[in-house]
């Protein structure tokens, strides 16, 4: 895989919140305007840093949910009730406020249309964020790379980007999106329930002979299970890319 490394110094920028979307009761997307943003690839993330009046600082990393768009960067943050940074981002920040951030960071877990496919995207919960950047980049570029996206949610109210995903599933060609619910499905749901186990992946994912590029993002348990199952099914481990976040993402 070609390296997209940009070995330049990462400096802190003060970014203004320009748009907020409450995606679910626990998840908010924040669009930030970052002066001198150098651009990024889908899958890159940023470091966000908060500073209290007494000088106390706390920082976390968040994946960017949008393709490069001038100086605009959107992150999608899930509130962790015992966290220190996420509740501030989801509950306190308002349009017109600012946060400090730097990036883009990463470079392995990235995809752009020129990398081809077929593309296998698998996410659990807010792990969808970097995969959404990839899906949006594919649509924006009018690429014809075939995409299968498998999304695991705890319940119906946890679905992030629901309207956009429904529209893509309805209107776009070459993109299949499958949702599954692990705890409680929405009323009237006739689709899939249960975890994305080996059986589900054998049925829903590209086959090893189709040589997909797979991106798996979510909580450690899901990522371990899905990545291992894909390898067990015969997928090339070098084409299974993983990004994990633990319960302490804060």
């Amino acid at each position: 895989m070609a390296r997209a490394a940009v070995l330049r110094r990462l400096t802190w920028a003060i970014a203004e919140v320009v748009h907020l979307v409450d995606e679910t009761p626990r998840v908010r997307s924040l669009t930030l305007d970052v002066p001198d943003w150098p651009g990024h690839l889908p899958g890159h993330h940023i470091d966000v840093r908060l500073t209290a009046e007494d000088g106390y600082q706390a920082g976390r990393q968040y994946s960017i949910a949008t393709p490069t768009d001038g100086t605009r960067v959107t992150i999608t943050v899930e509130r962790l009730d015992d966290g220190e940074v996420s509740p501030y981002l989801t509950d306190v920040l308002e349009v017109g406020d600012s946060v400090e951030l730097r990036g883009p960071i990463g470079g392995y877990f990235v995809w752009e249309p020129s990398r081809g496919g077929p593309l296998q995207l698998v996410a659990g919960g807010s792990g969808i964020a970097p995969l959404m950047a990839m899906l949006r980049a594919r649509l924006q570029a009018r690429s014809d790379v075939p995409v299968r996206m498998l999304l695991s949610w705890r319940s119906g109210e946890d679905v992030i980007y629901a309207d956009e995903l429904n529209a893509v599933a309805r209107d776009a060609t070459g993109i299949e999106i499958t949702h599954t619910f692990t705890r409680s499905a929405p009323d009237g749901w006739t689709g899939r329930t249960g975890r994305l186990d080996r059986e589900a992946l054998a049925e829903l994912a590209w086959t090893p002979s189709e040589r997909p590029l797979a991106y798996v993002c979510g909580p450690t348990g899901l990522v371990e299970a899905v990545a291992s199952a894909l390898v067990d099914l015969g997928h090339d481990p070098g084409r299974v890319l993983a990004e994990r976040f633990g319960p302490t993402g804060g």
Binding site: R8, R9, L50, E84, T220, A242, G246, T248
Partner: protein, 201 residues
Amino acid sequence: MSFISRGFQRRQAPAAPSDRVPPGQYVTRDFPVLSAGPTPRIGLDDWRLELVGEVDQPLSWSWQEFTALPAEEITVDVHCVTKWSKLDTAWTGVPVDALLDGVETSAGFAVAHSYGGYTTNLPLDDLTGGKAWVAYRYDGEPLEPEHGGPARLLVPHLYFWKSAKWLRALELRADDAPGFWEGYGYHNYGDPWREQRYSGD
């Protein structure tokens, strides 16, 4: 301090004295997993650890030979570049000094190679002098694959990405060569106390 985040304040009392937690880190009690691909599964019958590169003679250990080497119990704090620190982690491992015992080398650098293809680089001085181990037990149990088992490098004084999981070989080199994350812009050395997260920090 120029920038203040309106309405932000510390929510948690410090979980540890500040001399235990490097700048920008927070303490976690569980053990997050971070790796870039699937967890490799290596059977102990197939496992080998190699010492290669700028050495008078390459060395190689089977699992039996490796675990017969004198091991140490190590309790250390580990610091991940993604900001979590875990205090008092308890490991069993073979000091890298023991692997290098009697080895003639003029190398100044090393690259750790993992099963699955991961690499990371560090100065040889950071692997010697009682500062680094090849660990194969955690909390009294065999090291789980998702945390780097059968055996991983343990270099607790550097950010934890330097402690390569699923260690397969140590390559000694005359010159420095960036590893996996170092090639993607992470800091070449990675001292958590100097907050060397990314290139240029």
